[in-house]
Amino acid sequence: MYKIGVIGDSESVIGFRAVGLDVFPCEDPAEAARLIRELAEGEYAIIYIMEGLAAQVEKEIDKYKDSRLPAIIPIPNKEGASGNGMRNVREAVKRAVGADILFGGNDK
């Protein structure tokens, strides 16, 4: 039996608590990195993390990129999408194909 965690600023994550996910309010990158490690070693299969925070703990997230579990998924916070999550998809394409041939690569 696995669980789902949500990491991010308290205002953004509070709603997720209502639908039954485990939320971890956190705004400090170092704390977030520690949380990710802890959740990943625990029984969390999916960790949603707010985009702004995700950008600051990219290193920690990349560690779990190639392992089967957990899936660490950046989602937009209350400020709206920063395009960070989309960039991840683009980067996956770039990594696999060698060039971004799907999404036009119009960032940067």
Binding site: I14, V19, G20, L21, I46, A71, A81, V89, A92, L102
Partner: protein, 232 residues
């Protein structure tokens, strides 16, 4: 392409030829795998991008609802209301095999029996906006889960694809040419040795013939001499 540093022997040639055959076969197989993976991956990535866009739009809507609720009820009340959620989600992780890549599959069960009855608070102190926000979030939750699965799948396939692509290239541009060059080198070396041997043998044969002839001539000479002596 530089050849390998090996001894040009017949045994080495056989083993290299065997390796070349294996490499060629492996290259063909890996290339097929790469093509198939690429097909799967492109579809998946496209789907993933579409799903993410959709989720981002919907989540923005949910946040808007929460903000609206926040404007009506105070932060403390909201915290308090959501402190003990009624709804719980239990995640089941299966696994799926795509071109020998093991990807997780998520399915979930909710604890609350009635999906309409997930609000963990009384209605006296909170506003309808909060109910709205929560039910909306609850509605898009399956999509969020789908996004997680798709995104993980994309990442895992991308890693596998990268690996396969590297291997195909390594075989195609390094291993196979190197083996071919080395095999050619050994073949030429062996042929050269063969020719050298041939000429040496011919030379030796010539020398032996010469010697035999010489001996015969001496023998004849002696016989002639003896005959002449007898006549005198």
């Amino acid at each position: 392409m530089e050849r390998m540093n090996v001894n040009p022997t017949r045994m080495m040639l056989t083993s290299l030829k065997r390796r070349l055959a294996t490499a060629t076969r492996g290259h063909k197989l890996l290339k097929d795998k790469r093509d198939e993976l690429m097909k799967e991956f492109l579809d998946l990535a496209r789907e993933n991008g579409r799903l993410r866009e959709e989720v981002e739009v919907k989540l923005a809507d949910v946040y808007k609802n929460f903000r609206r609720a926040n404007a009506i009820v105070s932060n403390e009340v909201m915290e308090e209301s959501l402190m003990f959620p009624k709804q719980g989600v239990e995640l089941e992780v299966g696994s799926k095999n795509i071109m020998s890549v093991d990807v997780p599959e998520f399915s979930f069960t909710t604890k609350a029996e009635d999906p309409a009855d997930i609000l963990p608070y009384g209605f006296s102190r909170t506003s309808g906006e909060l109910d709205n926000a929560i039910s909306k979030l609850s509605d898009i939750f399956p999509m969020l889960l789908d996004l997680a699965a798709k995104e993980k799948e994309t990442a895992l396939l991308a890693a596998e694809l990268e690996k396969t692509r590297r291997r195909v290239n390594a075989l195609e541009y390094v291993m196979i040419p190197k083996l071919q060059v080395t095999i050619k080198y050994i073949t030429m070396k062996l042929d050269e040795n063969e020719r050298g041997n041939q000429t040496r043998l011919m030379k030796v044969k010539d020398m032996m013939l010469e010697e035999a002839l010489q001996k015969k001539r001496e023998h004849d000479m002696e016989a002639i001499n003896r005959l002449e002596n007898n006549q005198q």
